[in-house]
Symmetry: C2
Subunit: 113 residues, 2 copies
């Protein structure tokens, strides 16, 4: 039995992976087309190894996966993980949203007061 509602370390990895413009761009491109690591690397003004590291961070976060295709590795975006991240964001404000909803109900004027 875990203390928290969901895996906090997974959230750490996911949000950390998203906290970098290069990695977000890699994600965007990966959502458009499956690209090899070297194809991705061509797009940025940094070494191949640096891009490779960024892909590794995204992979550890579960935001992309790599598919072996001959000597190339195709980077595939994982849409589900992004949805999970969105849900994690929403969960941060559930109580707030509940209270806003409650207030709306009150304003709708159903309580006797």
């Amino acid at each position: 039995m875990v203390v928290h509602g969901f895996d906090e370390e997974a959230a750490d990895r996911v949000f950390h992976a998203l906290a970098n413009a290069t990695r977000r761009d890699i994600l965007r491109r990966s959502f458009e087309t499956d690209l090899s690591v070297s194809q991705l690397a061509e797009a940025y003004d940094m070494s191949f190894a640096a891009v490779q590291k960024h892909v590794a961070v995204l992979e550890r976060a579960g935001l992309v996966s790599k598919e072996n295709q001959g000597r190339e590795r195709l980077v595939k975006a994982e849409a589900g993980k992004l949805l999970w991240a969105r849900q994690a964001l929403d969960d941060l404000e559930v109580t707030w949203r509940e209270r806003v909803d409650q207030m709306s109900d009150l304003l709708a004027g159903d309580s006797g007061q």
Copy 2:
């Protein structure tokens, strides 16, 4: 004229702020109730200064604001910024979503082919 669609550095700050379990917890609590920094600090097994730093990170990201109340500073969650973050997530996969929608349309069988 900016190259990117939105402020990448703001995204860096927001996602980095979210990439830490303590800060996410501070955000959750702040959404429940406005709390002073020392009230927040009581909840964690670390120094007051450490919690203060976490709040500062959240503040720089625009996820919370601080309101002077006598000698205390009340930490208030900024729901709008969280919505902005959610939108930023959605934007990462727009092209993907567009393609999925297109595919749905095709399957719905309206094109003459």
